[in-house]
């Protein structure tokens, strides 16, 4: 029982990263119809940035948690203006190739400066130690990650459902042309939404730094699973991406333990789930079939 709860908790913590990354991909896809392959690279930049801030400038974790999302969000907006925007009218494949190429460039730039070795990054002193839950202990830092990620997801959901900005984003995501006919400059919201999605990836990266191996390839390992998460949740569905993120985290954690005798199965579990979901619901669990323009 204790073991099961521990695996469940670990699954939720991993799921928190999937959820944050999938959430960013979902808002970007919803608004721009762009599949941002570079999302994993921005996650990596978040973690590397936190390390560089601490090692070279002495900036602590808490500041990195604010600085890196802002810096990467601004970088994302510049990227949208300079490149993504220009390809928006073309086949979606062009932006996929653009962000794929960008991923390789960013990874190699970081690699050439910091190498491929994983770099240790200590959690902040306030979050050392563990929290006693009676039957078992959990590392304080992981508890913090889970609570923080859930708070961010709930906050984004609240913003989308309760603010005027959120209403405009929902409307523009569902029917861009109609929304323009109602006097809303949809184009004005595209750049900030892209930047916001990137900022979420950066935030996840900073959160990952103290508990995951920080290296130039940490994003590319993760992003493939995150794409599966987004597809399972339903492309563009905010709620679906978060729910699927936590769900896949759990399934993976349980799979590793209970399918330990079938390592091939436990490693491919995510994609088996994805295939099964798509056979049952081609638009994903919470996705809507695309309405005609």
């Amino acid at each position: 029982m204790t073991g099961f709860l521990q695996h469940t908790f670990d699954g939720l913590v991993n799921g928190a990263f999937y959820a944050l990354l999938a959430l960013g991909l979902a808002v970007i896809f919803g608004m721009l119809r762009v599949v941002n392959f570079a999302h994993g690279a921005f996650y990596m930049l978040g973690a590397m940035g936190a390390y560089v801030l601490l090692a070279e400038l002495g900036v602590p974790f808490w500041w990195a948690l604010v600085i890196m999302p802002v810096v990467l969000g601004v970088l994302g907006m510049a990227l949208e203006r300079a490149f993504v925007h220009r390809l928006a009218q073309l086949d979606p494949l062009y932006n996929f190739l653009l962000t794929f190429g960008l991923t390789l460039i960013l990874q190699d730039l970081v690699k050439s400066r910091y190498g491929v070795q994983s770099i240790p990054y200590a959690p902040p002193a306030e979050l050392n130690g563990s929290v006693d839950f009676g039957l078992f202990d959990f590392p304080t830092y992981r508890v913090f990650v889970l609570v923080f990620a859930v708070a961010i997801c709930v906050g984004v959901w609240w913003l989308l459902t309760h603010s005027r900005v959120g209403m405009v984003v929902r409307a523009a995501t569902e029917r861009p042309e109609l929304t323009r006919a109602f006097g809303i400059n949809v184009g004005r919201w595209v750049t900030p939404v892209f930047g916001f999605g990137i900022a979420l990836a950066g935030l996840a990266g900073v959160l990952a730094a103290p508990m995951r191996a920080v290296n130039p390839l940490m994003g590319s390992d993760l992003i493939i699973v995150v794409f599966a998460v987004v597809v399972i949740g339903g492309l563009g569905s905010i709620f679906g991406s978060v729910a699927a993120g936590f769900g896949i985290g759990l399934i993976q954690a349980w799979g590793v333990v209970y399918l330990a005798d079938w390592p091939i199965l436990s490693q491919t579990l995510v994609f088996i789930v994805m295939a099964a979901v798509l056979m049952w619901r081609p638009a994903g669990l919470f996705g809507r079939e695309e309405a005609p323009a």
């Binding site: 109609l178 323009r180 006919a181």
Partner: protein, 230 residues
Amino acid sequence: MLRIENLSAFYGEAQVLREVSLDVAAGEVVTLVGRNGAGKSTLLRCVMGLHAGQRGTITLDGRDVTKLPAYKRARLGLGWVPDDRGAYASLSVTENLTLPPRVGPDPWPLERVYEAFPALYTRRDSAATMLSGGEQQMLALARVLRMGARLLLCDEPTEGLSPLLVQQVGDLLREAKKHGVTVLLVEQNLHFATGVADRHYLLAEGRIAEAMDNSEVRSRERELLAYLGI
């Protein structure tokens, strides 16, 4: 208020509108009638700024808006009532109503909208696509009235509605007209059209074939219905 000069529109190679010119004066209700595929909806889309392939000039209150994007035209007072009623699934009824900014001198307050449409008030927190077809049509009209639009572009607002609801749509458009709202209406229901409109244009193969007043439409109703294939 609205002047269209030599408007041609294309879908790829196909030409759907050929040198259409027409005027709509402030406070008028004007209908466009014609067979399916005559170009009526395309004409409305051109006025709204939603159709890319076009040539000609569109003037609103003496201002050339031909190059203006749709959202700027909406802010000049155009109210869009699309043929599919334009209900957002991811927005509640209230959000559907309050999405467009107020643009005109006389926007309806939300309370007034809900007084006029009690059915929308009861369902105000539901997703708009959960409404019945008739309620969605009321929502589409209520939305542009709340916006305070001065020129409504309505694409077949009575299509698929029960006679009672058709009458309600008519009452609403007459009420709007009384307050100085101008309406350009695509309509197949001639009886409804003569009940609300001042003048009519018959579109055929992308051209204006005839301009008619109410008495002419009434006296030629049978001939016109046969032509329209209804």
